[in-house]
């Protein structure tokens, strides 16, 4: 008996130590970060591995915030080299990085992504909403007759008599998602600022951020989880439901879904790039410059990411729904990425 137990524990210890020894050598690039940037990084990683024959980069979708947490844990082979983000790095994250010795970081914007609101093609109405109407439909608290109260609206025509008398039902991402952060910032805050109540009341940006960031939780807004394909399926089966997701999902499913235009503008490559479509956001990746030279292939991978074939117009990232930057900005980003220009602390 005792022999058996000793054998077992020796085995477990041996296994642990070989594992630890193995962790000292890393021959592949390790990438974490936003689920929105994930498909683009995927594409570059696959291209890079195919063309160079180098070990495939390991790309993990952890969400923007989760990615920053892992990225900022330190320098060394046990920590990732790059993190993707669907928003700029926050000051708190930059400090966390600095505390752990990650001081030299390069920020690269790869392009923009539109957030689309979509509805089934079975729905006959030509949906067009303003940001104000979106806020009134989805905000946790809205002004009614001069009072700031819990959102009472249940059907669209209560917000605007021109809209149909159907129940408000919108499926969207949960609070952990970068898509949700972006939607709150780009649509909810902007819509809130358009309200007469806010403008006449003279409330400032801080007030808006404190009071207009919550989505309602009484039914009309449904948190549908991170899986955008499930939202698409749900929209197919319920023609009055709307869904909020990245533009690439709308693009892939354009035979069954149609966009809800915002202020009369439908999302497409041109309107997102020009900013005419109001709900679009920049996408970034961050490079740990301390890892350049130490991790084989890292520089080549970055060069592939910022090549014209990849993030330029007509490149393979635009096929996946990325909206490219203008020429001059692309040059700037390439310059920055290849030379490892350090970013300064965000405000």
């Amino acid at each position: 008996m005792s022999k058996m137990r000793t054998t077992a524990s020796v085995f477990a210890l041996a296994a642990l130590s070989t594992g630890a020894a193995h962790a000292q050598v890393r021959d592949h690039i390790s990438i974490v970060g936003s689920s929105t940037v994930f498909p683009y990084t995927q594409a570059v990683a696959e291209r890079f591995a195919n063309v160079t024959g180098a070990p495939s980069p390991v790309v993990e979708s952890t969400g923007t915030g989760g990615g920053m947490q892992i990225f900022c844990q330190g320098i060394g082979e046990g920590h990732p080299d790059i993190t993707g983000a669907s928003r700029g790095m926050k000051a708190s994250e930059f400090e966390l990085c600095a505390e752990n010795g990650v001081e030299d970081i390069t920020q690269v914007q790869i392009g923009s992504d539109g957030l689309s609101i979509a509805i089934s093609r079975e729905n006959d109405f030509d949906w067009d909403l303003s940001l104000r109407e979106i806020y009134l439909a989805l905000g946790a608290q809205v002004p009614v007759e001069g009072e700031w109260v819990d959102n009472p609206h249940t059907t669209w025509n209560e917000i605007n008599p021109d809209l149909p008398e159907t129940e408000i039902l919108v499926l969207g991402p949960p609070p952990t998602s970068g898509t949700r952060d972006a939607f709150v910032e780009l649509a909810m805050h902007a819509g809130c600022e358009e309200l007469d109540f806010v403008q006449d009341g003279g409330f400032d940006g801080d007030w808006v951020e404190q009071n207009c960031s919550r989505m309602r939780t009484d039914g009309p807004f449904v948190e549908a989880g991170e899986n955008d394909n499930l939202i698409v399926q749900r929209l197919n089966s319920d023609e009055t439901a709307m869904g909020i997701f990245g533009y690439s999902f709308l693009f892939e499913n354009s035979d069954v879904l149609k966009p809800v235009t915002i202020n009369g503008v439908a999302p497409d490559e041109d309107t997102i790039a020009s900013g005419d479509y109001p709900v679009s956001r920049p996408l970034f990746f961050y490079i740990k410059n301390g890892h350049r030279g130490a991790i084989p292939g890292l520089n080549e991978f970055i060069a592939e990411y910022v090549s014209e074939d990849s993030f330029g117009p007509g490149g393979y990232l635009s096929e996946r729904g990325l909206v490219p930057l203008p020429q001059a900005r692309r040059e700037e980003m390439r310059e920055r990425a290849l030379n490892g220009v350090s970013m300064s602390a965000p405000e």
Binding site: M1, T41, S56, V58, S61, D228, S248, S254
Partner: protein, 431 residues
């Protein structure tokens, strides 16, 4: 003896008593309803299982075939330098070959559209073939390459030609080009071997489960190697040697409770201990296996203890009686007799571990990796996490591939459970 109407004398039953026949009727009715409810419950369970499998098969069967095109390519020595095959101009070679079917098309934009009918992986397939066999340089060879996802969907009828053009994924001219190729007879729809032989890819037509299968295999092997000896050791001690006291009772209760701990907790533990403290690599099947071993351990201990208990005490006493030591009794008599039960429990524990997702997500086994792992320390995915990744991919082709991957996972689970049942019925001894 006083005669009351309700109590018939002992031993004599009044069969004609209406109260008796009423009671009998009630009993029979209750029994009928119990049977009916039981049957109904079985029916509901069977129906749900049927709906699940049927919906998976209906969406998934298309993924087991993949549309291919067979094209003739000229491997021009001017484009492929035998000294540097990897740097060869294979995309041009493929482009020339496919454009040969459209001699009238000259506009570069339209030419690019035509090239996109073929999968992005076509040039790499050709390159790998030439890398394997450099003598092909200068030859004219025919190669079968997958079509890209939208055209694959079109060929499978998943893109409806009757939808109005503006709502369709492929426009009329794109469909016309596909039809030209189809008329030329180069389109085929063979078995989708890539689903098993390729690792993950962002292109549905190239994506396969190899990385996930190998990853799951390494994770399960690690899990087995850790949990099996430790589990059996613990069970033998508790069952055969441990004194019955407060402490051993406490351990027993804890093991039983451990079996009910949600698996995500083990994932968090592994993240903090294995990756945080020991510095083991993220996404490695070895770490996944260690995490799953924590989860499987209580199952194995409980199953082993039950199997040891089932061995009659007379066998132990007989062995002790002829002078065997406790250790000899355990290893020469009790353990061999209990083995079928132990193996059954272990296999069921491993089958559970195979389908486990939550702890693997936490330790990063849901990464995107385009090659299969070579050792248990390389990054990899596992079957359930691969399903998780595919279910979240925007490309339409991944919808059927997700179902197909679930079917593959279910096949493994059913096989493992069948093996457990086989072992039990083949080797189990009854006393």
């Amino acid at each position: 003896m006083s005669d009351t109407p309700h109590t018939a004398p002992r031993g004599r039953i009044d069969w004609a008593d209406p109260a008796l026949s009423e009671r009998l009727r009630l009993r029979k009715r209750r029994q009928f309803w119990l049977k009916a409810l039981g049957l109904g419950a079985v029916g509901v369970a069977a129906l749900m299982l049927f709906v699940l499998i049927a919906s998976l098969v209906v969406t998934g069967y298309q993924a087991f075939r993949q549309t291919h095109a067979t094209i003739e390519v000229n491997i021009d020595p001017f484009q492929v330098d035998p000294a540097n095959i990897r740097g060869g101009n294979f995309d041009d070679i493929i482009e020339t070959a496919i454009l040969a079917y459209f001699p009238d098309v000259e506009a570069p934009g339209e030419q690019r559209e035509i090239v996109r009918i073929l999968s992005d992986g076509a040039e790499f397939q050709l390159r790998d073939r030439v890398l394997d066999n450099p003598e092909l340089i200068g030859e004219r060879v025919s190669i079968t390459v997958p079509l890209s996802d939208p055209y694959d969907l079109l060929n499978k009828g998943l893109i409806d030609r009757t939808t109005p053009e503006e709502n369709r994924r492929l426009k009329d001219d794109q469909i016309a080009r596909f039809d030209t190729l189809a008329e030329a007879g180069i389109i085929s729809q063979p078995l989708n071997t890539a689903l098993i032989t390729n690792a993950d890819s962002r292109f549905p037509e190239l994506a396969g489960l190899k990385g996930a299968l190998v990853g799951s295999f390494y994770a399960l092997a690690t899990c087995f190697l850790l949990a099996f000896p430790v589990g059996i050791g613990a069970a033998i001690y508790l069952e055969e040697f441990a004194p019955k006291n407060r402490l051993s009772d406490l351990i027993e209760i804890n093991i039983n409770n451990l079996a009910a701990v949600p698996s995500v907790v083990f994932g968090l533990l592994a993240l903090a201990v294995f990756i945080g403290w020991f510095g083991l690599p993220r996404s490695a099947p070895f770490v996944g296996g260690m995490t799953l071993a924590l989860m499987t351990l209580p199952t194995i201990i409980i199953a082993t203890r039950a199997a040891l208990k089932a061995v009659p005490g007379s066998i132990r006493e007989a062995a002790l009686g002829v002078g065997a030591s406790r250790q000899q009794v355990v290893f020469q008599h009790v353990l061999p007799l209990a083995m079928p039960g132990i193996l059954t429990g272990t296999i069921i524990g491993l089958a559970q571990a195979l389908g486990e997702t939550a702890p693997l997500l936490l330790i990063g086994m849901n990464a995107f990796i385009t090659s299969a792992p070579e050792t248990p320390f390389d990054s990899a995915t596992a079957l359930p996490t691969q399903i998780f990744i595919w279910a979240d991919s925007p490309e339409r082709g991944f919808v059927s591939r997700t179902s197909a991957a679930i079917l593959v996972l279910l096949t493994f689970l059913v096989t493992m459970n069948a093996l457990a049942i086989f072992l039990r019925s083949r080797f189990e001894r009854r006393w």
